[in-house]
Amino acid sequence: MTIVEELERAGLTGRGGAAFSTAIKVRAAHDNDADLVVNACDGEVGARKDAWVVEHHLAELVEGARLVTSGRRDRVTYAAHRGSRTADLLTRAGLEVLDVPARYVSSEETAILSLLHGGLAKPMTKRLPFVYGGRDSLGKRIAPTVVLNAETVWRVSQVRRNGPDWFRRFGTDTEPGPRLVSVGGAVAHPGIFEVGSGVPIRDLLDAAGGLEPRVPALLVGGLGGVLLTTDEAATTAWSGPGMAAYGGSMGAGVIEALDPTRCPLDVVTDLVTYGAGESAGQCGPCMFGLPAVAESWAELARDPNQQTLDRLQDRLGVIPGRGACHHPDGVTRFVGSALRVLMPHIHEHVAGPCPLGRSRHAVH
């Protein structure tokens, strides 16, 4: 069996967030004689799993890359944030490393391709997948290149070594295979856990030693993810369908418990302000829209009123789907979920100071 056939049988999907079929990507890579970039940036807020793969399974990672590029080691580049321990480990192993600026959108697929091909680490308009080769907006040629998440490439080598049937013993029929989750924030023992789709999120939190008392909400999927109440998290399965019920996904495998010592509205203000500042500044709806969303949210947290709420919701409605990459989609999705989860708390703010008695302007 070829590696593509094995991946097809295994049903491996990308572990970087998009969950696209790895078999289809690898077949396209073979057909187009594409180069490979292994994305080990852990670019999502709270993500640490790619670093874990590099630290603990480097030989298998390299083997997976060899399988994707049909043995051509010179066709593989490992992308990691500049100055990170991951970049250091990869460099010391003698691998070709692409130093990616530690900015949020810099590790997005097309931003990595732009950087790899001599441009800035900013997303490109993807008229067609770049595995076929293509051009950036200014017409510069981008050679056929495929980007795969580090965990995905590690899984490729596992599928070869242990077989598709082994892989399918984990997870569900539609979401097979083991997958890594970074659990962090206000839990007793933050860490990386390997589970199959369908396990209760409660089990993942227990594995991390449980939530600290009075955690106000959980952030699942980072800045491109959604907030869940602790009750929702306690009754939801870690799976695509489980998360889809809240507009989310398993994404890049990140669960963060929000700090119980801070007002959650302020935590969201910080996150959305960060997200707005991380726009690459290329696409109008993102570079102007996200700061406007951040401003509306901050205003809502400070002085909740219907007019501000309406303006925020209007903005959240028009921004998604209008960037070269999905950064604006992710941030608006996150803020939309924060509105839903924290609306009761916003109503409490209407009555006066934060009823949780929490510092509204904690130093961080």
Partner: protein, 68 residues
Amino acid sequence: MPSTDREVGVRIAVDRVLCTGHGVCARTLPGRIRLDEWGYPIVEAVAVDPVDADLAVKLCPARALYLR
């Protein structure tokens, strides 16, 4: 607004990196493209009459409109 995707037409898209918000497309394709509060196009219907689409593509000062 009813979906116009089933009507005969070509599919129009915006290269968001190239678009600088001149707003010409909202004039050349009224009812198909409107502008947001920052002046950037919102494509209401991707299926556009081929002749109108060609003109809009030609008139975009940023050369950001393209046919799929």
